[in-house]
Amino acid sequence: MKEAGCKGYDALMIIIHWISALLVFGLFALGWWMVDLTYYSNWYTTAPWWHKSLGLLVLFITLFRVVWRFVKGTPTIDGSAFEKRAAKLGHLLLYISLLAVVFSGYLISTGEGKPIGFFDWFDVPALPFQIEQQATWAGTIHEYAAYVLVILALGHGVMALKHHFIDKRSTLIRMIKP
């Protein structure tokens, strides 16, 4: 990622950040809850429908976000050399786990070559090839990558609060005001 040298993020990145945060924690809770639904639950078919559609939304906005980061660059990071390196590594791991969760989720539903629906709007086709028991393998990755993502995201939030309240830096404000 090139550093734009600017002070903050633009409004679009701020909106995407907070929507992503909401979706990541919301989908984690939804996924956690829905895997134990009984067959006769009212939510047995609707919960996965929302989970898949919103998960695809995360996939789309994350892909856009990665492209946008490369195009626009990222703001300079305050702090020591160690803090800068740690922040960059943390953000990289957040992106990797975020993409791993959404992509493995896509691989579950498309595990036998059928498309996955984005709300009732359009279908996203499967990859042209599948591996045996793909839905099961992708499901395992999806589960563990989600735990990693949520732990990283919580750590990310804790660090932002630390920079704000203890270090008295503008880190958190930058992600609120464009």
């Binding site: 067959y39 006769y40 595990g111 036998e112 839905a135 099961t136």
Partner: protein, 193 residues
Amino acid sequence: MKTQLLALSAIVGSVLAAPAVADDYVIDTEGQHAFIQFKIKHLGYSWLLGRFNDFEGNFSYDEANPGNASVEVTIDTASVDTNHAERDKHLRSDDFLNTGEYPEASFVSTRYVPDSDDENEGTLYGNFTLNGVTKEIAIEVEQVGAGEDPWGGFRRGFEGEVDLTLADYNIDYNLGPEAKEVELYLSIEGVRQ
């Protein structure tokens, strides 16, 4: 002369008394002429069909003595296929087939009882292991046909049906009162070795 005759009659006698040799057949999974399918009621409103794609086995069969027939089949339970990725994932999980812990189901026959009125039909008894549980089951079997194939081999085929109660195999995920049993249908063609 007398001893020679005795020896000859002993040989003839032993040949006559010896059981006829049964032929061994390997189930033709290579050419995909064998199918293990199942169906279960969906809510009681329709049938859900599925199959196991990967299995192997063999049987022996003696036309002169069908009662001596025996069969062995091993099924790769993770190859369950109901044409729906998320459902197949669920079926492989420990709610159903628990394929991580029990990747194989197997059937080993114990005896075959041909029907008295039709020797092409009969009941095949054996031990069926699924989800780590072994139970004796009785498969209703019918011989579909047998004969030379156009490529120099000899083939013999059977179909069979058996109803299984899922709870017997510790599969107790509640699919509703109409879906407690699954009907297994087998269409098996063997190539004589």
